[in-house]
Assembly symmetry: C3
């Protein structure tokens, strides 16, 4: 078990290479390809399966199970519960990404249903989704956070459901019990591409598959992903652009750079650029 | 309300920035990621939701609802009707993309079912799909137009269903009542990438969310998207290529350039390259 | 009918250009966009449709039907059987990609169900999936092959189901009856991107649509795809990279290069780089 975020980052490559854990995702249609590629890119083995007849069998042999409700239906939520319960039984960590919680009653209720039926290890959410699930005030529009106090949401969410709460935004907060990490890595370009939150959840899943301290695993994953986002931003032309813009600059150029950065980024390198501090609730 | 296509294009950035409308899409699996990214790229906020339990709630708070039957099933069509009716009730414009109408009986019937149950503001189609729905002769093979008189199809479709008909092809025609715009922007590279019609519909939806004259909104959207397609083509090596080809040239290079172009393109810049003329049916 | 793999490769462009066959895929959500783009890129016309009400109608007018169980459910498997049977009736070749066969009971059984109900022309699989279906020993983890004797699996699979068995890996084996081709084209980068097996199946489907000798068609397709993979690898920086890496190097840079390569690659050029030998079971 890693003692620090930096140690977890440094262990990452070796552990993923040695174990190459299967990451079983029940995720939304919009991001399936990107999430599978991100899981592959950081060194794990992605699988997507959602049929009720097979999810338990797949989850039981996985290193982590990711439940993402971005394009949910009743039958998908039922399959998520089956997968989550099988993961619980097998000691496999379960991560919940409550996409759009608060945007419709169905989404909020689906999250609560999953949290009641499954022991979730980590919730990775934006500030509004986290606040909604934590029972705090928040404004949600579709799947984007409009408002919400990320730090309060992380702490309250963590205690309410006894989970690691990883709430991402301009500053990310990762809370468990009284402990909280604040992570300032990342780049505004991540908000100009769809699915970057979902891909972040995929990376958290990969780290949880090889690091049993899920608080440290989640914090290390957010550093890793945030640094990849920063490195990728360095490959995109400076703003403001002109007409015509001088060099490649735009969301798909950034996307390519993001995956390439995640592929090339070592844990050591990420650790050297980490901007993490403790913000424990004392 | 914009009085001209150029005015609508010039207003675009300010309006999207001010309102950042939610664009709710029930679209096909093939293009979900691309359409979400295109909506984000032009400045709006994408959400995909198709569960019958939540579509009405989501549609009612959206700036536009897009119904795309590319990978339809009966249950998806039912959800589209629910979303469309909720949008109607809330005064939210509904756009229909009848992918593959005419290719199978089910697709044609699904479009007619939606058009009977929902007040559609804009139909964005290729020439064959439009002709089929307009009751004219056309040849369809899968989801590609094989033949069809685009101008006649646009005019007839617009009158038959009292909609704005936006029929895209080598020349795009946008018709409503007696009015017709002919738009000659675009590039042949757009036909070498899957989902470029669907992404075009996404852009039309974004414009309709901020411009209540849907004829002008659709025409402006086609100019914007067509100019983005032209600018992107300028980033791809000239044809014919050789073996080995000298610089990046191919569908994914073009795709990256297309998104980057749509991201960097201002309404002012697009207006300056617009090739629009009136072809009213007088 | 082509007499050799090289002849089939040389015919490819002219035949696809002349016929532009419709390739009807019932494939998994993760790769739908990539497979549609790959089919378009090599010159055919992709369509995705899975509703039981329309699959037979679509399959009957297609040049090939591809069944890929990567994100299967019972209802999708039923639609696959309907599509496959309609293709059989119309003389349209059916290709099966048994993604994850062996990973869960449901996947293995779905493949056997399809093979019992549909006359499949070609199975394109990795070594472990092929071995499982051939009744040989294999280790499967998720959708990645962990072990399996590819040559034995190809030969046994081909005989057991009287199909062309195209088993891909470091060396690809394409077997039918006593005949076997061994193909050494390809690059390790193909294993760092999700869906490259599925895209390979798409290319095999395109070749089978224009070449009635499916053994030769499948072998030619694997050469074509493998050479595209090699050419693309030449566009990515040499390994090992550094920190920061000097030029674009990573999975999405490779993906762009792969599609661009497949787009620019002529059959003649591919034939000149083919590494094929006969390994008949004599």
């Amino acid at each position: 078990m890693a003692k620090t975020v930096a140690e977890c980052l440094r262990n990452k490559q070796a552990r993923l290479q040695a174990q190459r854990p299967l990451i079983h995702s029940l995720t939304n249609f919009v991001v399936m390809n990107d999430c599978a590629n991100m899981i592959l890119t950081v060194g794990a083995s992605p699988v997507m399966a959602h049929a009720p007849e097979e999810v338990a069998e797949m989850a039981a042999v996985s290193g982590a199970v990711i439940l993402n409700i971005g394009t949910l239906t009743r039958s998908w939520v039922e399959a998520m519960v089956l997968a989550g319960q099988a993961a619980n039984k097998a000691g496999v960590p379960v991560l919940l990404d409550p996409v759009g919680a608060g945007a419709t009653r169905m989404r909020t209720e689906a999250c609560l249903q999953i949290l009641a039926a499954v022991k979730v290890a980590v919730i990775r959410a934006n500030a509004a989704e986290a606040a909604v699930l934590a029972g705090l005030d928040a404004q949600v529009k579709g799947v984007d956070a409009v408002s919400g106090d990320a730090l309060a949401a992380a702490r309250t969410l963590a205690r309410r459901f006894n989970v690691v709460a990883a709430v991402t935004g301009p500053v990310d907060y990762v809370a468990a019990g009284e402990k909280t990490y604040a992570i300032s890595n990342g780049d505004v370009w991540l908000s100009r591409l769809t699915g970057t939150g979902c891909m972040c959840s995929s990376v958290v899943g990969c780290f949880c598959a090889v690091e049993p301290d899920y608080l440290i695993a989640a914090a290390a994953a957010l550093v890793f992903y945030g640094v990849a986002g920063e490195v990728a931003a360095g490959k995109v032309a400076l703003e403001p652009g002109g007409s015509p813009w001088p060099v490649p600059r735009g969301p798909l150029t950034y996307k390519t750079a993001l995956f390439d950065a995640a592929y090339n980024l070592t844990g050591e390198w990420a650790a050297s650029l980490a901007r993490v501090e403790r913000r424990d609730d004392v």
